[in-house]
């Protein structure tokens, strides 16, 4: 395990394709541990993941709910990509490889979960929304908002909100890169075949996870 981690760190491509060194059950246990950790941190910071690519802020659900959402996001990838790999791969893909590498590919969400701690983004969004609705009310001479003014926002809070948004975007891009390489290595697909099938599969998995979460709540 120590050699594997050293190899991943030494390899320049290890940051977006560690699956050359780790896959199968090792990746599965590491990935599940990261998903549990992400859910725990997300539970504390108010960040949740209601879809394969979604990371949202400002929800005070219990830890089982946070964990459930993250597991749905991971399982949707497995449910979509395993049959896809079986159909398209020249060799028989293993379920343990697809499940393990896709679990580990969610590691960047740990960063997103941590980014929620300053608890600034939801305040900034609420403040912007309040002022936006306020202007519409003044223009249309109606009163629709029934929530309190979250108060003025400082430039430091705006800076933090932009920084958190950037972390969310970068973590998602990183996760998609990891997901693609997880699929490519596990299924031995190359070039256009890998790229096109991954894009289609990702859209299906995203749709499926959104549908399940929508039905669940």
């Amino acid at each position: 395990m120590k050699t594997t981690i050293t190899n991943i760190i030494r390899d320049k491509k290890g940051w977006y394709n560690p699956f050359v060194y780790v896959a199968g059950t090792h990746a599965l246990w590491a990935g599940l541990l990261i998903i549990i950790l992400t859910s725990l941190i997300g539970h504390a910071s108010g960040v949740y993941f209601p879809g394969v690519l979604d990371g949202k802020i400002g929800w005070e659900g219990g830890f089982p709910m946070h964990l459930g959402l993250s597991l749905i996001a991971w399982l949707c990838m497995v449910v979509v990509f395993y049959p896809m790999a079986l159909m398209l791969s020249p060799t028989k893909a293993r379920l343990a490889d697809i499940a393990g590498t896709q679990a580990l590919a969610r590691a960047p969400m740990l960063l997103s979960a941590l980014a929620g701690f300053p608890r600034v983004l939801d305040k900034v969004i609420a403040s912007i929304m309040y002022r936006f609705v306020d202007q519409i009310e003044a223009y249309a001479e109606v009163e629709v908002k029934d929530w309190a003014d979250p108060g003025p926002i400082s430039s430091w809070e705006i800076f933090l909100a932009v920084l958190i948004t950037l972390i969310f975007i970068l973590a998602t891009v990183w996760m998609v890169a990891l997901m693609f390489h997880a699929y490519r290595v596990s299924s031995n697909l190359k070039r256009t075949r890998a790229g096109v099938s991954f894009t289609i599969g990702l859209l299906i998995a995203q749709g499926l996870s959104t549908f399940i979460v929508f039905r669940w709540f």
Binding site: T4, Y21, G24, P90, R94, D97, V185
Partner: protein, 99 residues
């Protein structure tokens, strides 16, 4: 010095064939046109992989431990070598048909 067998023509990039074989014991030289056997036509890295694979009794799990690579990566390497062997066999068949 461990000399490598050149496989591709430096002039036209086509596959080279064996023109003569020499007996180091009695000095007899046999001239002709012989194609290289498929394992010898593979690149050195592929040959090393095949040797390691045979030594590990054909176990991909053992190979992944030996190479410090994941199981699917080793399996993909093997698949790529299988494809290259198939291509070489196809090329050799074509060559025999033409000569």
């Amino acid at each position: 010095m461990n000399k490598k067998i050149p496989q591709m023509c430096p002039s036209c990039s086509h596959r080279l064939c064996v023109k003569s074989l020499h007996c180091a014991s009695c000095g007899t030289t046999v001239d002709g046109t012989f194609s290289l056997p498929v394992p010898a036509s593979l690149q050195e890295a592929d040959q090393s992989f095949i040797l390691a694979f045979v030594k590990s009794s054909g176990s991909l799990k053992e190979m992944s431990k030996y190479l410090n690579l994941s199981y699917p990566t080793v399996r993909n390497m093997l698949d790529d070598i299988i494809n290259r062997i198939k291509n070489l066999e196809h090329e050799n068949n074509n060559y025999q048909h033409h000569s």
